[in-house]
Amino acid sequence: MHGIDWVDVGLSVLKIAIVLGAMLNVTPIMVWVERRGSALIQDRPGPNRVGPFGLFQSFADAFKFILKEDMLPAKANKILYTIAPMFGLIPALTTIAVVPWGRPFTLPGGRLFEPIIANVNIGILLIFALASMGVYGIVMAGWASANKYSLFGGIRASAQMISYELSLTLAAVSVLLAAGSLSLTDVVWRQTGSFVLFNVIKLPAWNIFSPAMWMAFIVFFVSGFAETNRMPFDFAEADAELVAGYHTEYSSMKFALFFMSEYMAMATMSALVTTLFLGGWDIPWYTEPATWVGFALSVLSFVTKVSIILFIFVWVRWTIPRLKYDLLMKLGWKVFLPMAVVNIVIVALFIARGWL
């Protein structure tokens, strides 16, 4: 191990600044995409007054949030009510640290630049550990609000997240088995290059195209919707049943923090789906040069993939209606959990036969 000098520190700060900036800007952009996207799907114009294409609508919303009165319900638990939005935001912000977002390249000083904030060898475990903390924000908010609808939202969220975390983690296990490592960098490197299917089609070696892992992709992707509390599974807020669920009592910037953490969790989940199943920063049918050009192209590829997944999140929200609660539990425990376990066995068989 070499020592750490000021260049390393500077590079780390730069990487953190880039990722943090991107994550903080996800929310206003995604709010705009969501509103315009829903308008597109419902055949209406959507917000188009503030700025070109209504692009500045999110900034207007942000100002509105800051200027609104911050209400505190009389019977609320003051401390928990205040820290709950922060507790929701921190896991959503930090999980992205172990996701690689570009191809490493050598800097002019002979130093290797790795586009990942923390290249730890338990990357995926860290993500799941932090993501499992995300439920506390919702549960605490629901309980501290001293409101029955909020409490129901919190209880539903905890039950739902525990159920779907299992299938989410087990689906990721298949990928990790195939990669033979818990580090997301290794997972991405394994998916570079391509393979030829049935001597006919040349496919990129992404896990989604692998005959052993497409099932894990379905489980992971759908469980991702449940973990981020997005539409077909948004039981924590379920506006038709629970007013607004866990954030019924919240207003002003505290509400905005919940809003932000939802979109950040969505972005993290998209980055995870991209990294685990869609080859991360890999560009299909193309070998990136190990220079800054390759780096820039790979970052572009990563951002494109994440954006597409994010749009699918929006698309699904405005297309598929909410499930019934018992169906949600049935789907999680009786369909996805067995599917994920079966997929692990399939991957293990493939590895034992030497096909992977």
Binding site: L80, N121, I122, F128, S132, M140, I155, E165, S181
Partner: protein, 222 residues
């Protein structure tokens, strides 16, 4: 004083203080949240010792799974109807005695150690061992089969996996069997018999459930 020692002292103090607050708090939800804080601090201590795998699993399983279930149950109980005049229960003398005994037990059993920086024990935590019989030529000309242990430095998670699935395989499997038994037991206890009137009024999917319940009970009694 090294920075690691400062972090250890701060985190250790928070862990001990919050674990005391778990039992001292009146409101069960507050107790549960302080228990969560304790788990998180312990996870940090694990990471400081170079056992990042155990630290991550601690957060994932205890903080992310078990504590959420705790909170789930605690929130369902209506806290406002609990009697809160009484600070100590009737059994506080016995409880104090048991607590003291357990403390003495731990005090005598846990080896007193010296704080050292995390790097020192790093190598041992990352090493997996393979065992193999080897023929060894003795100095007097005889050949003896000897068990050779060979260590290989790999990742933290590999080391834990090797230890669990080789040296500690039987305890590991026994523990998983216990968990399975506990799970089946909880399911059997959790399902209740239905009366005749209820059975006429309930929807079909609940009847299906009671049928499987009967099957499970018959299987258990057989």
């Amino acid at each position: 004083m090294s920075p690691a020692l400062v972090v250890f002292l701060v985190i250790g103090t928070i862990a001990v203080a919050s674990s005391i607050l778990v039992v001292a708090m009146r409101n069960p939800v507050h107790s549960a949240l302080f228990l969560l804080l304790t788990f998180l601090c312990v996870a940090i201590l694990f990471v400081m010792k170079g056992a990042e795998f155990v630290g991550a699993v601690q957060v994932l399983v205890y903080a992310g799974g078990i504590m959420v279930l705790f909170l789930f149950v605690v929130m369902l109980i209506n806290v406002r109807h609990l009697p809160d005049e009484r600070v100590l229960s009737n059994f506080w003398k016995g409880g104090l005695l048991v607590g003291l005994a357990v403390f003495l037990l731990f005090f005598t059993m846990v080896r007193p150690g010296v704080f050292h920086d995390p790097v020192a024990s790093d190598q041992a935590l990352r090493t997996t061992y393979t065992y193999r019989h080897r023929k060894v030529h003795q100095p007097d000309g005889t050949v003896v089969r000897k068990l050779i242990r060979r260590g290989k430095v790999v990742g933290n998670s590999e080391a834990v996996g090797m230890a669990l699935y080789t040296d500690y395989l039987v305890p590991f499997e026994v523990a998983s069997l216990f968990l399975l038994v506990a799970m089946i037991g909880a399911i059997v206890i959790g399902k209740r018999e239905l009366s005749a009137i209820e059975e006429e009024n309930i929807p079909a999917y609940m009847l299906e459930r009671s049928e499987t319940e009967h099957e499970v009970k018959e299987a258990m009694s057989a």
